[in-house]
């Protein structure tokens, strides 16, 4: 009997069903015993016995099933987050577990900043900042472990510290003190830290160790969700326009953001940007210009040189991208497309 109940915290609905069958039967039995089986009570039990057993058993089974569904829902939400954290840890760990050099640190920081919703990632060893990716380097320098008391504490105890940049002293060490980065990331995911629920300016410090020795620290900076938001917090507008111009169609995309840096205007779309520009540029912080380069190349190859993308900054604010498609000679266009596909 004890085994029947002990196995899981929420019992299976089918078990609950049987429990629900036995309770009213017991009740009927007690009625019959206490009334010494008078003809009235026998009639009563005949009347209400079956309905009570049915109602209570089905009711209890459905109730238990409902609670199970509610619990499972929550577990699933947690599992998704954990899965994500494990995936991130899996991609980052190889870079951090080998000897910590500037290259491996840079690679780890790049992967982390791409997969997480953080704005900047810094990797440090015990003496200096090895790698830092993300915008706004000038706004807040990542500190290397020796500088801030909080960083020192994080490295010494091996605990994750979540700190608000505004009030650096306001920290809450987490329970996960294991040496493994994987465990830590998982714990972080459980607490929803990776989800970017931190207020703007929050910093998460994740120290890591090799062979028991603290070797460095990972810093995740939360400032805003996307670089679009960074350049313009509210009231961003993207306009897409399609216009017929004689025989051609002109398609334009326009925003009211901070525009494109003038020195990039000439090269944007014609060639992928240099990697040096990718981290420092505000207008292209997340990418390296490869996307627009590919689109441009495709347009030129499929349609012709006149369909190339044209970038310009608008006089008041924002930027505009346009290209023209020749509307006539559709069969020619398809033929070109076919040839272009064959070439590849």
């Amino acid at each position: 009997m004890a085994l029947f109940f002990y196995e899981e915290r929420i019992i299976a609905p089918i078990k609950a069903f049987f429990i629900g069958v036995f309770a009213p039967i017991l009740q009927m039995g007690i009625i019959l015993i206490y009334t010494t089986s008078s003809p009235e009570s026998i009639r009563l039990v005949n009347e209400i016995g079956v309905p009570m057993v049915l109602a209570s058993s089905i009711g209890i089974a459905l109730f238990v099933a409902m609670i199970q569904v509610a619990l499972r829902e929550q577990e699933r939400a947690g599992a998704v987050e954990t899965q994500r954290a494990l995936a991130v840890a899996g991609t980052v760990l190889p870079h951090l577990e080998q000897k910590l050099t500037e290259e491996s640190a840079a690679e780890a920081a790049r992967v982390l900043s791409m997969t997480l919703s953080v704005d900047a990632v810094a990797v440090t060893d015990m003496t200096s900042v090895l790698a830092y990716t993300g915008p706004g380097m000038e706004r807040s320098r990542p500190e290397h472990p020796a500088v801030s008391a909080l960083c020192q504490k994080a490295v010494r105890t091996g605990e994750i510290v979540v700190a608000e940049l505004a009030a650096y002293a306001d920290s809450s060490p987490s329970q996960a003190a294991g040496g493994q980065l994987k465990q830590k990331l998982t714990a972080l995911a459980r607490r929803g830290t990776l989800e970017g629920k931190q207020g703007p300016g929050a910093v998460v410090l994740i120290p890591f160790q090799q062979a028991g020795q603290p070797v460095g620290m990972l810093q995740l900076f939360y400032r805003s969700r996307k670089h679009v938001c960074a350049s313009r917090l509210i009231g961003g507008v993207v306009q897409v326009s399609v216009r017929r111009e004689g025989g051609a169609i002109r398609i334009g995309v326009q925003d009211n953001g901070i525009g494109i840096r003038p020195e990039l205007l000439s090269s944007l779309g014609l060639m992928p940007l240099e990697s040096g520009e990718e981290s420092s540029g505000i207008s292209s912080t997340a990418g390296n210009g490869l996307g627009v380069y590919n689109v441009n190349e495709r347009l030129i190859r499929l349609v012709g040189a006149e369909a190339a993308l044209h970038y310009r900054n608008l006089p008041e604010e924002g930027s505009r991208v346009e290209f023209r498609l020749p509307g006539e000679r559709r069969e020619h266009y398809e033929g070109e497309a076919y040839r272009a596909d064959r070439r590849r």
Binding site: R9, I31, E40, L44, N46, E47, I48, V50, P51, M52, L54, A55, I58, G59, L62, F63, M66, I67, V69, A70, L71, Q74
Partner: protein, 80 residues
């Protein structure tokens, strides 16, 4: 007997709808998430006890003169 079955299943459905709404409430969800301790056990006992009492009151009164299907049972004067 059929009358009793119909009424009881109806009442059960209503209680279940109520409970379903309860599982959507954050307060109730919080209660479900806790680790099993003595305090949680007591809380569970109180909670499910209240649900059981509600279940009893949502039942119908059966007597020699037939069924009294008022929704909320106030009290029982003599016997069942």
């Amino acid at each position: 007997m059929e009358a009793y079955t119909r009424v009881l299943i109806e009442r059960m459905g209503m209680l279940l709808i109520l409970m379903f709404i309860m599982t959507r409430l954050p307060l109730f969800r919080m209660l479900l998430d806790r680790a099993v301790t003595l305090k949680t056990g007591v809380l569970y006992a109180v909670m499910f006890g209240l649900i059981g009492i509600a279940g009893t009151h949502a039942g119908v009164l059966a007597g020699p003169e037939g069924m009294d299907a008022r929704f909320w049972i106030r009290g029982v004067d003599s016997g069942r």
